[in-house]
Assembly symmetry: C2
Homo-oligomer: 200 residues x 2
């Protein structure tokens, strides 16, 4: 069975990619995470754009393992913050990966920002790097607005405070399949399906 490395330690992201591959009819491709391969020096996400970070991570993973590697960089872009937290989404509070601190800070920063100026979007760039093959970068956007308080327990990151367009539920209140169908990462990963079919 061919192997595909998803350059993440996030089990939620691994499950998501496996669901999307299955739903997309890609069989015969085993999805590994970083925990399944020999350790290598991971790249700091210091790029100025999602694309740059995704590509840096996928290249580092492909080079270190020799496996076709996918990496994503995703984040929340908030209109009232001129598109930030953006590439700094995961460390907005200064503590990398502290989801609760990040979203609490964001809510506090937007405390006086009225509903009509709370527009926001989740953005994903996903890169596929095939050793000896090509590099592909795809995108996905998911529009909505920032809620006034966290709700829901599915998902991670800013999901509990993101209200997708046309929804009364936050993205942490959507079911996994429901979310895959419309989310920024779901859209981006499905863009990769034609390339992943070739690897299977």
């Amino acid at each position: 069975m061919s192997k595909l490395l998803l350059a993440t330690r996030n089990e939620g992201k691994l499950a998501e990619l496996r669901r999307i591959l299955a739903a997309g009819g890609v069989e015969g491709l085993e999805v590994l995470g970083l925990a399944d391969v020999a350790e290598f020096e991971e790249i700091a996400e210091t790029g100025a754009t999602f694309e740059e970070n995704a590509l840096l991570k996928a290249r580092a993973a492909a080079e270190a393992t020799g496996l076709p590697s996918v990496a994503d960089d995703s984040g929340l872009v908030v209109d009232a913050l001129n598109g930030m937290p953006g590439v700094l989404s995961a460390r907005w509070s200064g503590r990398h990966g502290d989801d609760e601190a990040n979203l609490e800070l964001l809510l506090a920063q937007l405390a006086d920002v009225p509903q009509e100026r709370r527009g926001a979007g989740f953005v994903c760039a996903a890169a596929l790097v095939v050793p000896g093959g090509g590099e592909t970068v795809v995108h996905g956007d998911w529009g909505g607005e920032i809620a006034w308080e966290p709700r829901g327990t599915n998902g991670f990151g800013y999901d509990p405070i993101f209200l997708p367009e046309g929804e009364t539920r936050t993205s942490a209140e959507l079911g996994s399949a429901e979310k895959d169908a419309v989310s920024h990462r779901g859209l981006a990963l499905r863009e990769l399906l034609p390339y992943l079919h070739e690897l299977a």
Copy 2:
């Protein structure tokens, strides 16, 4: 002696305006702060721009007191944060006016941002509202970059981490007169001098 209200409780800002008036040859104008006038309901700084906030504050002060009133709204715009903290500078950490928390958060957010992407500027909009007279809004910009750690004790806000262009000292290491000559608020307030001369 004619009176001018500066809509602030910040003694540093009052001293700064008095220095600038004196240096600009404006005599016979007594500068009062909010602590010197009867209390009135102050306006929350909810505007989307510095101009909007300055004007809202100056109008509210002039209306409540009948005095010619100046208000400023100032902040730090950081390139790597797409121009934020901007109008949210004073409450970037979620705690309004907590200078140390604000600048520590900013440094943490920029921890991986290299020198060449640490460009920033202080921006000031100052509004003068004269009851029965006109409204004037002026601007000042001060370019520079974000330092790697705080230095200096003059000034307030983000002064300890702002390196003005061409300087090795932070703006909290400059003397007051030196700072007035080049700072965003100094520039903006000097733009107001011709209008303030008329009031004296």
